[in-house]
């Protein structure tokens, strides 16, 4: 393929541009994952709180069952 000089210059800058966009995409994916994890942990925390209110004695035991 015969590239003209201008095309190559554009390609060089384009590569950097694309890299930054790919980075944003990766961060976005990570954000989704962290959000999911936070929601799950929130559920867990609420569950523990509810259990503690229902039965204060049992909540004292170490809940390491899973």
């Amino acid at each position: 393929m015969n590239w003209s000089q201008a095309e190559l210059v554009a390609a060089a800058y384009g590569v950097v541009f694309v890299f930054v966009l790919v980075y944003v995409a990766i961060i976005a994916a990570k954000l989704v994952r962290l959000q999911r994890e936070t929601t799950a942990l929130l559920e867990l925390a609420r569950g523990r709180e509810a259990a503690a209110r229902r039965d204060p004695a049992a909540a004292v035991e170490a809940p390491n069952e899973s």
């Binding site: 210059v9 060089a12 590569v15 950097v16 990570k30 962290l34 390491n64």
Partner: protein, 224 residues
Amino acid sequence: MIRSLPGLAAFAAGLMGLGIFLALIVAPEDADQGISQRVFYIHVPIALTAYFCFGLGAWKALLLLWRGDERYDLESYVAIHQGTIFGALTLITGSIWARASWDVWWTWGSNQLVLFLVLFLFYCAYFMLRFSLEEGPRRARSSAVYALFGVVLIPVSFLAIRLAEDFIHPTVFTREGPQMTGTMFATFCVSWAAVTLLAYVLYRVELAGKRLDADLRELREVLQ
């Protein structure tokens, strides 16, 4: 710490935009090399930034070994991660520039390209090292030592490659160093500042992400 990040990122974006505008439109065209010289404004800053990241990684590594604070391990790792990415970008933009200047996608005659290839291999091995060791102080310290080796390797390799010129690659392409006019120099400085700032912002973002990850993991352990 993280509050300043959006502002910093916005500033980096602005500076980058300015840099590209200057590089592609404002800067005068080089008499000898023509339009392909413009790659210089992005390629060299990226290379310098890669060195900067490796240096930052080595500095954090030194702090880890010296002060023993585990936090430096993650900072060193992220810095070297950035450096490796920018190193790969150096090789890619360098290759494109070689194609534009001399019609080849690779040449052993460009000392900087060869040096970056060696460093790229070295730092890829860094990740292999981290990947095959169990998480913990041992991994942190071994990575730190390796990072220090990397930074020492840079000048030694550079010297070796210079000396190797004499007997390994007789075909050395030369680029006339641009007689930089004031505008060219200003463009270069803006681009350099922009790329360095970009790298730093990415470094901070990645670091924040990883710390958040670790915190959530700890939270999960407490709750389960």
